[in-house]
């Protein structure tokens, strides 16, 4: 039994935590939240320099060759720091899509620039309120040109290209790469409930679209989401853990009725429940990481389990962090809001827990071997 990250990655996690503690205190996401600056460009350059952005990219393509597990440990730390950078869009989604479905030529052309952080990619999927279903896309590609509208694309205003889920010639969903700075693309930054990460509405009107040769079919879109979801789960666990620690620290510091509020069972039990949610989420994220790193057939199940637990932990921890802080918790001045906004943002990106629960049961029914899996 070795259900843990290898030593070199645990070391990377410690280094990342130390670096971000110094370089990305909460004043950094707060600055992005309060300004028109879409992301911290300098921080992005620094983490590129340390090889984080290309963690999963093989060394032959200019990456660090740490595989998906490397991304997972970094994701947790970036989540903990609420890092305002387009890491999830460019790494979990754009890079993963090209690694999984791109041609050799596309890999050679794109991966080194992605690894260096010189090119930012994102993923454009949602088209309307409600469940995002790859079988019900309006966006379509005809004669190499993309038409359609994508809502709330993360980093859509700053990314150089997007991997777009659109119907192809056969009407089946097909992942295409589209330059966002080129013709036929109109992008409009949109206000969101978490301005520390920027989003855009993108209208494609005949934009040149380059297919990812192996990215055809709803299954492929699902596979990309499964992989990204596991990495995102680590980021969510990082956010939740940081919110738990913030609540714990405040409970020790704040006195009421002559004692630290952390000595009241109402607060102690609340924080214990958050701890339980975070640990369950962490354990399930590890399961996802195992499935990612071994290309396990269980990946759709592991991704759903990781996702659902991470959404729960993120929500409970950041919501109850505000509650623990009382009135100060909902002031602009206190940082509770930063965690609360980010946790819910991450809980919607890639689909809400409700969608993943539906998907999980579908997968379990399809497999029909529940007794074995729940053993």
């Amino acid at each position: 039994m070795n259900f843990d990250f290898p030593d070199d990655l645990r070391q990377l996690r410690d280094e990342a935590r130390r670096f971000l503690r110094d370089r990305c205190p909460t004043s950094v996401p707060r600055r992005i939240l309060e300004s028109a600056e879409p992301y911290d460009r300098k921080l992005w350059g620094e983490i590129a320099g340390m090889g984080w952005i290309g963690a999963a990219i093989p060394e032959a393509f200019g990456g660090a060759g740490l595989g998906a597990l490397g991304v997972c440990v970094l994701a947790e730390e970036l989540g903990r720091a609420l890092a305002p950078v387009p890491f999830s869009s460019s790494v979990y989604l754009a890079t993963e899509a090209i690694l999984a479905f791109g041609s050799d030529a596309q890999k050679e052309r794109l991966l080194p620039r992605l690894a260096a952080g010189e090119t930012i990619g994102t993923f454009a999927f949602a088209e309307r309120p409600g469940a995002a279903d790859p079988r019900k896309l309006e966006a379509h590609v005809a004669d190499g040109r993309l038409h359609g509208t994508k809502l709330a694309v993360p980093d859509g205003d700053v990314a150089d290209f997007a991997i777009v889920a659109a119907r192809g010639d056969e009407r089946a969903p097909w992942l295409h790469r589209v330059e966002l700075g080129g013709s036929g693309v109109t992008r409009t930054p949109v206000a969101t409930f978490d301005p520390s990460r920027s989003h855009a509405r993108i209208v494609f009107d005949g934009a040149p679209a380059e297919p990812l040769p192996r990215g055809q079919g709803a299954q492929q879109v699902r596979h990309l989401l499964d992989r990204a979801t596991v990495m995102m789960a680590f980021e969510q666990v990082g956010v939740a853990q940081a919110a738990l620690e913030m609540a714990r620290d405040y409970a020790l510091e704040r006195y009421a009725f002559g004692r630290p509020i952390g000595s009241f069972q109402a607060i102690k039990h609340k924080l214990a429940d958050i701890y339980v949610a975070v640990e369950l989420a962490r354990s399930n994220a590890y399961y996802g990481a195992w499935a990612l790193s071994t290309d396990a057939a269980e990946l759709p199940i592991a991704a759903a389990v990781a996702r659902i637990a991470a959404c729960e932990a993120g929500w409970v921890a950041t919501r109850e962090n505000i509650q623990t802080h009382g009135g100060m918790g909902f002031t602009w001045q206190f940082d509770c809001q930063l965690y609360y906004r980010r946790a819910k943002l991450l809980g919607l990106a890639l689909g809400s827990a409700r969608e993943w629960k539906h998907r999980l049961i579908g997968e379990l029914r399809a497999r029909n071997t529940t007794s074995q899996m729940a053993a």
């Binding site: 039994m1 070795n2 259900f3 843990d4 990250f5 290898p6 597990l69 738990l244 714990r248 409970a251 020790l252 004692r259 630290p260 952390g262 000595s263 069972q265 607060i267 102690k268 039990h269 924080l271 214990a272 429940d273 701890y275 339980v276 640990e279 369950l280 989420a281 962490r282 354990s283 399930n284 590890y286 399961y287 990481a289 195992w290 790193s293 071994t294 759903a304 389990v305 659902i308 637990a309 729960e312 409700r354 993943w356 629960k357 539906h358 999980l360 049961i361 379990l364 029914r365 529940t370 007794s371 729940a374």
Partner: protein, 411 residues
């Protein structure tokens, strides 16, 4: 990252499996018997003892005990591997748990060489079964509030008082007992720890009928029971420290609650019709199922994390403290939801009900899971204090002589 055994672990697992194949029967697939307490079945105790004796000879009893206690001198990881394998077989090992996990390790750690010599072997071989005489009507979660008296009389101690919630007192030969030897000092300081021969004159055992109808626990009354001073474990007044040596074994164990779990609920949902078709097609049911699957897997992988620490020879991290808390509540909720699906027919118990009435039974015994071995509330306190570092509650009784501590509305 991988779930596979190391070569050493795999070899040990093969050895354990070979022993079990030769000496026990595999559980039937789909059998729900494993969830039920089997010790009430006729002849169960004798079969359990005979199997325990074989385990001891083969070196699978006391796997992680040091060799000087008569154990194998193996690792915690080997202990878990053996338990995983044994769980697939129809054997009853739980009745030896208090002796092997709590009583004997305490006696061996804190007691005299003579006590170790006398008690470790017979417990290991299943010849002597142990019970734990800790909780009292006035001392449950607040164990140190116990009132059973131990008064010194020459080379003996005279015990008077009452214990409660004693599992297996009626078939145990010995018990570990904590009693108050000095009421004039604060409560934790006035306790002493003893080994009690359950056949001693003045010991009276009365079964407690639980709300499920079965009687797993007992009340034990002491009237001028005499214990030789040679059966004292640790110094006079050190009883609390001695009791705490192994008490956490009970709470931090890897064991989950017995009872219906996700797979049973999934099976039920697959076979039951609701107003709009099969339960498994109903979105509300799916959502509940998904939540319990996620919790079940979360516990499973939390255990894997703990096992990874053990496998490396490290002390498990604090994450293991959540297992019992999560598992117990989940069992009760799953039992109740299963009955909701069964609907109007739900109250009926017995063989014609889904899974032979497992959900109906669990409704009645699952409240105990959230209380025995540390209540939900005490477990949350432990997480808050020992994991998160929050302060202890204000304790008004802490520095007061025990005789002055209020014990009721008029006390």
């Amino acid at each position: 990252m991988d779930f596979s055994d190391t070569p050493e672990e795999a070899a040990f697992r093969a050895e354990a499996r070979a022993f079990l194949e030769a000496n026990a029967e595999r559980r039937k697939p789909g059998s729900v018997e494993g969830y039920r307490r089997g010790q009430d079945a006729p002849g169960a105790l004798e079969r359990a003892r005979a199997f325990q004796a074989k385990k001891a000879v083969a070196g699978f009893a006391g796997i992680a005990w040091p060799k000087e206690w008569g154990g194998r001198g193996g690792t915690q990881m080997q202990q878990i591997i053996y338990q995983q394998e044994e769980a697939k077989f129809d054997v009853l090992s739980g009745i030896f748990g208090i002796g092997l996990q709590i009583a004997i390790p305490t006696v061996c750690t804190c007691g005299t060489p003579e006590q170790r010599e006398r008690f470790a072997g017979p417990a290991l071989r299943g010849e002597e079964i142990w019970c734990q005489l800790f909780s009292e009507p006035a001392g449950g979660s607040d164990l140190a509030a116990l009132r059973t008296r131990a008064d010194r009389g020459g080379d003996e101690w005279i015990i008077n008082g009452q214990k409660i919630w004693t599992s297996g007192a009626h078939y145990s030969q010995f018990g570990i007992l904590v009693a108050r030897s000095d009421p004039n000092v604060p409560k934790h300081a006035g306790l002493t720890f003893f080994i009690l021969d359950m056949a001693s004159p003045g010991v009276e055992i009365r079964p407690i009928r639980q709300m499920s109808g079965s009687s797993h626990f007992n009340e034990v009354f002491f009237t001028d029971v005499r214990i030789p001073d040679t059966m004292r474990v640790g110094a006079v007044g050190h009883g609390w420290r001695v009791a705490m040596t192994t008490l956490m074994n009970e709470r931090h164990g890897m064991r989950e609650a017995p009872g219906p779990d996700f797979s049973e609920l999934f099976e039920l949902a697959r076979n039951i019709e609701l107003e709009d078709g099969p339960a498994l097609d109903n979105a509300a049911v799916q959502e509940k199922l998904a939540e319990w699957y996620v919790r079940t897997q979360g516990l499973r992988f939390t255990k894997f994390r703990t096992m990874t620490s053990l496998s490396r020879g490290q002390t498990p991290g604090p994450e293991s403290s959540i297992i019992k808390l999560v598992a117990a509540g989940k069992t009760q909720e799953i039992a109740a939801y299963g009955l909701d699906l069964i609907g109007m027919a739900g109250p009926a118990m017995g063989a014609e009900m889904p899974l032979q009435g497992l959900f109906e039974e669990a409704l009645l015994y699952s409240p105990a899971l959230r209380i025995a071995g540390g209540t939900d509330e005490i477990l949350r306190n432990i997480i808050a204090e020992r994991v998160l570092g929050l302060p202890q509650d204000v304790r008004v009784d802490k520095d007061v002589p025990f005789r002055d501590v209020p014990s009721g509305r008029r006390g």
